[in-house]
């Protein structure tokens, strides 16, 4: 009874006005698309910044036409200055980690599909949901403003290590108002994510349809649920950390600033703070953040692979328990970012073990994906290609983690391109492959139109080969000791590595250009694509039981009833080789 009354409470009439429908909408589907749209703007901006950085690294003195218009001080005559390089790097990292890798796979797809997949009409708290997006949007605007202020964008990297980030403009350009905007933006972002995470958790626990037990939820629903539990704790730590940073910068406190610092020939008026406190707080958020980016991608990829293989995974339960283990262990590993930070060397050993251990659930998942392919009848679509690409990238990025998990090897590889290659592959590109797989898979449901498969496959091949050409050589550079975050390589030992840098830059330019095929496909298909049927991929979960695009209230005011586990494939059902979750028919096993 209690369940029924909860569901009744969320029945509301469709909005009439344009603004209520498309801008300040309470509908989880519109909010999901808004998050996705914001992520799209952020990812193309972030990619353009990486182009500029790569171009500058390969040809440090080349003029970039038009760049002077964006920043006269940062690129006089179109040539990027060292400090502007750091600005590009900081903005690239911040945009990508927060506004792309958190927004698209978790807040974007999660918002759109979590309620539908559990048979709910909306999120538990639609107003909080709207607020979470708009706070995130303001966070984005605040960060973006930093491009246009006289001080220039922040230059302390996406990790904003104190005291560089805390002492203000005495530390250099971009560290005045640029850094203030960064700290304000990230604080707002945390608030948005906290609201979103609360909503995801409440919705999953309270609004499931009749028959939708927890273990009947699709794997991606599980992934969003686990991610929201991580997000609730992680952003709850980053938010106060950013507020303390703002206080250090604006109110004269010294949480992160010790005594006796001399910058710009001035003895700083601070005492008693600890730079390592910032690092602990930041990475206590920062490492779980890696899983906030990758877990939803794992969920999406599992969902897509199962549908494409026409058979369930060897064990969905094992995948779910592995994701839970990863979520749990993610809280015990943050110190592996700090092996050479001056932290007590004994704690390095303690952080090293859970870091190595986390590879066990990750390997179990990989082997389950691999082993499930055996004996399948895999349908090759753009969505399944990107899902396979994800598995490949996740393995490539994962194995380099073995090196960095060991403090002794980290002495040599820390702060080199090896680290950059590792995290770009495992959390950056792998998560992006998950997002792209989800996009090709769910676009028909979201828009009511099919995407062009030929363009989708072309996009896959350019992206797949291209990302290997970009990020595999990063590992080689790191092995040779190439230091990261340098705007040019003036040191003798790095000069011989320049040809490899040029190769990477060319690969990055081509791969980046390939993304415009995707953008074209996305926009063109939205308006001109073939009309999509209700269930184009013959899927079993609830999103495929409603029209494309779904109506207001998702299930047209009806309450779906769930009879089966989420992935009934390889069977003889009335519709073919599958039985949908809400189909009352008996499952015939041979």
């Amino acid at each position: 009874m209690a369940e029924a009354s909860v569901q009744q409470a969320h029945v509301h009439a469709p909005p009439e006005s344009f603004i209520r429908k498309n801008v300040f909408s309470l509908d989880h589907k519109t909010i999901g698309k808004q998050y996705y749209g914001l992520a799209l703007v952020a990812v193309f901006t972030g990619m353009a910044l990486s182009w500029l950085m790569r171009f500058h690294l390969a040809w440090p003195n080349a003029k970039i036409a038009g760049l002077e218009l964006l920043s006269k001080a940062g690129a006089p005559g179109g040539v990027i200055t060292p400090e502007y390089y750091l600005s590009l790097l900081t903005m690239h990292g911040t945009l990508m980690v927060f506004f792309v890798l958190t927004n698209a796979p978790f807040a974007g797809f999660g918002n759109y599909f979590l309620p539908i997949q559990i048979g709910a009409e909306d999120m538990a708290f639609p107003r909080f949901n709207m607020m979470s997006f708009w706070v995130t949007f303001v966070a984005f605007l605040v960060l973006f403003t930093a491009f246009f202020i006289p001080d220039g964008p922040p230059t302390s990297g996406w990790t904003a290590y104190a005291p560089l980030s805390a002492v203000g403009s005495d530390a250099g350009p971009g560290l005045g108002w640029g850094q203030n905007l960064w700290a304000i933006s990230i604080s707002l972002f945390c608030i948005g994510q906290l609201l979103g995470s609360l909503n995801f958790i409440s919705t999953t626990l309270d609004l499931r349809a009749k028959g939708m037990t927890l273990m009947r939820m699709p794997i991606c629903t599980w992934a969003w649920f686990i991610t929201s539990c991580i997000g609730l704790l992680a952003f709850a730590v980053l938010l106060p950390a950013c507020l303390l940073l703002i206080l250090d910068r604006m109110a004269g406190t010294s949480f992160f600033i010790p005594a006796g610092l001399v910058l710009s020939d001035r003895l700083q008026n601070h005492a008693g703070g600890s730079p390592l406190l910032w690092q602990h707080l930041f990475w206590f958020f920062g490492h779980p953040e890696v899983y906030i980016a990758i877990l939803p991608a794992m969920g999406i990829v599992s969902h897509v692979l199962i549908t494409s293989m026409r058979k369930p995974l060897l064990s969905a339960k094992v995948i779910i328990y592995s994701m839970m283990s990863i979520g749990f262990l993610s809280w015990m590993v943050w110190g592996h970012h700090m092996f050479v930070s001056g932290m007590n060397p004994f704690s390095s050993l303690l952080f090293s073990f859970p870091t190595l251990t986390i590879t066990i659930p990750a390997t179990i998942m990989t082997l389950i994906w691999l082993g499930s392919l055996y004996g399948a009848n895999l349908q090759i679509t753009s969505a399944s290609l990107f899902a396979l690409g994800f598995v490949s990238m996740f393995v490539s990025g994962g194995v380099s983690g073995f090196f960095l998990a060991q403090p002794s090897i980290d002495i040599y590889l820390h702060a080199t391109y090896f680290v950059v290659g590792h995290f770009h592959m495992v959390m950056g590109v792998a998560a992006i492959f998950g997002i792209l797989s989800g996009t090709y898979f769910w676009f028909p449901k979201m828009s009511g139109r099919m995407m062009n498969e030929t363009l989708g496959k072309l996009h896959f091949w350019i992206t797949f080969v291209g990302t290997y050409c970009i990020f595999m050589p990063f590992h080689y550079l790191g092995m040779a000791g190439n230091v990261r975050r340098y705007s040019s390589f003036v040191d003798d030992f790095m000069a011989p590595l320049l040809p490899l840098h040029k190769f990477i830059t060319i690969a990055a330019l081509i791969t980046g250009a390939g993304q415009f095929i995707f953008l074209y496909n996305l926009i063109h298909s939205r308006f001109r694509g073939k009309p999509a049927p209700q269930n184009p991929w013959n899927g079993t979960s609830l999103e495929w039981s409603i029209p494309s695009p779904p109506p207001w209230n998702n299930f047209g005011g009806k309450h779906p009833v769930v009879y089966h586990d989420s992935y009934q494939y390889g069977l003889k059902g009335s519709k073919g080789d599958y039985v949908m979750q809400d189909s009352p028919e008996q499952i015939v096993t041979e």
């Binding site: 001056g342 090196f403 040599y412």
Partner: protein, 267 residues
């Protein structure tokens, strides 16, 4: 297209492994007494990770080749052993790897961090500031003068904020822009940050350690080969970060004594 995926992924995996197998990009020659343990750990990890990388990628390529776009009515089956086999395999393969790398490999870390420097190790103080390193030797009296941040004056070359007028111990301190050390003698580097975080990285020494403002850290090492090596900053420290470097000059005992004498005469 599944077959194409199999072929392309196989090529990618083999091409990716080629520069590693041929040692095209490797760390430079080790010139420290502790570095061989790190190198050994690195090559063991490379062997195990390389195996995991090639094994998984080739298996993925093969399965996609074999099990995609099959004829209608093709029988769907499961791998013998099922999920249990995968879980057991992961525990055995990775569990062994975790134990082997994690437990045995701690020795290399212990070499650097858990052994105290010998009592006769030569102490050198390193100071990192935006965007230069300076090194200080205690001079004939064997004692470092105190640092006074308010007296730091780069214009007058008082990089450490010494107060020779009132502090006798600081009068004979030798300050240098390069880190000159004698070969085969243990050095204890006392690390002090002047402004923001920096890092001390010498590839050949297999040493990387952050300078943390407000926290006086130290590392110790013994260089075994004379020569000049680059010291670079690896902690993002501001606009001049890319250009923050100094040289480690490993000298024979006689040359080091000559260097010291010359420095004293220049003071």
């Amino acid at each position: 297209m599944g077959k194409l995926f199999g072929v392309i992924l196989t090529i990618i995996a083999l091409v990716s492994a080629y520069p590693i197998v041929t040692h095209k990009y490797v760390q430079p020659e080790d010139i420290s007494t502790h570095g061989h343990a790190i190198d050994e750990q690195l090559s063991d990890t490379m062997a195990e990770s390389g195996f995991a990388f090639l094994g998984s990628q080739l298996l993925l390529a093969f399965f996609v080749w074999k099990f995609s776009e099959r004829k209608a009515g093709a029988k769907i089956s499961n791998i013998p052993g099922g999920a249990k086999l995968m879980v057991v395999a992961a525990f055995i393969l990775i569990g062994t790897e975790v134990l082997a790398l994690g437990v045995l490999g701690q020795k290399a870390w212990a070499n650097v961090y858990f052994t105290a420097p010998k009592p006769d190790a030569m102490q050198v103080q390193a100071q990192a500031g935006q965007f230069a390193f300076y090194f200080r030797y205690s001079g004939p009296d064997g004692k470092f003068g105190a640092i006074h941040p308010d007296k730091i004056d780069e214009g007058n070359q008082n990089f450490f904020g010494l107060d020779p007028a009132n502090d006798v111990e600081s009068r004979d301190d030798i300050v240098s822009g390069e880190l000159a050390i004698p070969v085969n003698r243990e050095i204890q580097l006392l690390m002090h940050a002047k402004d923001v975080g920096h890092s001390f990285y010498v590839r050949e020494l297999r040493i990387q350690q952050d300078f943390v403002p407000g926290l006086d850290l130290s590392v110790h090492f013994t260089a075994t080969k004379t020569g000049k090596y680059e010291i670079v900053c690896t902690q993002l420290c501001g606009l001049g970060h890319y250009n923050m470097k100094a040289y480690l000059n490993v000298l024979s005992q006689e040359d080091f004594e000559k260097w010291t004498k010359q420095k004293i005469s220049e003071q």
